[in-house]
Amino acid sequence: METLTILGTPKTPTVEMNVDSGIIEIKGRSIPENSIDFYRPIVEWIDQYADSAAPETKVNIQLEYFNTSSSKCILDVFKKLEQVFKKNGDKGVVINWFYEEDDEDMLEAGEDYQSILKIPFKMIELEE
């Protein structure tokens, strides 16, 4: 299994998923017209990763904007990570949800996911 790297575009985020370090990063904007196609390889990668996950998986989500089409796909990504968490136990997975200091909507979006999922979330404010 290899590290998955996807370069960012004006409508899609930069993705870096490292199987050895267990660090998963999604950064930038996620506003494509069709999010299902974009997120499919990410979901498939985590599916495979679940079988040989690092002892600790650190997920950094730092999105400036995301559309509603992406919001469901991001939930799918988190649900796959929930399976890794269930296998690996307490310290297995942590999701760091970054948001800019004045962006209450982005904080609230993170809290929405937190309330749906059973994975530890950390809300991290970025200073401008």
Binding site: P10, K11, I31, E33, N34, S35, I36, Y65, N67, T68, S69, S71, K72, C73, L75, E100, D102, D103, D105, E108, D112, S115, I116, E128
Partner: protein, 185 residues
């Protein structure tokens, strides 16, 4: 009642317009328009919070148009059928708030669905909208376009304002759907 779309368009582009468009809508066009809006709002020194709100609402409004514009019925003047026809306008109001106005054709069976959806959203409080958003987010359903019906709820949740809308019976089972969204500071 049918409306004269050209006159309506001329009316809605009056004022301090940030962007206006009438024609076929595509993913590339949306990319360019969003970039233009972002630059324009920065040049105008709008507050970051308002800029983000306007940008988010434009993303959802434009992508709703992209996914749901039907065929334009035959143009009465040219006799041509234009695919993915839509109108959209973003303008700043004298009080500093923004309006997003859009227009597109919808087929008759969709009119009732849209009316019911917007009436329901208009009736709900902000807290209820947040709950509805979470319910739809987690209902495991995708539409064939991937959105899953969250767009209109998301816009209302962000703006906190009711939708103003009208449907105009144009021709051959097609209605013209006019939508106005208010974004305040």
């Amino acid at each position: 009642m049918a409306i004269d779309i050209d006159s309506w368009y001329n009316e809605v582009i009056e004022g301090d317009v940030v962007v206006h468009y009438k024609g076929a809508i595509s993913a590339d066009l949306i990319t360019r328009v969003l970039e233009h809006i972002e630059n324009e709002l920065a040049i105008r020194n709008e507050k970051s919070k308002l800029r983000k709100k306007v940008y988010n609402v434009m993303v959802e409004a434009l992508q709703n148009l992209f996914h749901h514009t039907g065929l334009q019925p035959e143009n009465s003047k040219t006799g041509e059928i234009e695919k993915n026809f839509a109108i959209f306008v973003l303008k700043k109001l004298p009080d500093g708030n923004f309006n997003v106005i859009s227009g597109n054709f919808v087929e008759e069976p969709r009119v009732k669905f849209l009316k019911d959806r917007m009436d329901q959203i208009n009736y709900l409080t902000l807290d209820e909208l947040k709950i509805l958003y979470q319910l739809i987010l987690n209902n495991q359903e995708y539409s064939d376009k991937g959105g899953g019906g969250l767009g209109l709820v998301d816009i209302a949740k962000r703006t906190g304002h009711e939708y103003e809308y009208s449907f105009h019976n144009q021709t051959n089972g097609y209605y013209f759907f006019c939508l106005k969204i208010l974004i305040t500071n």
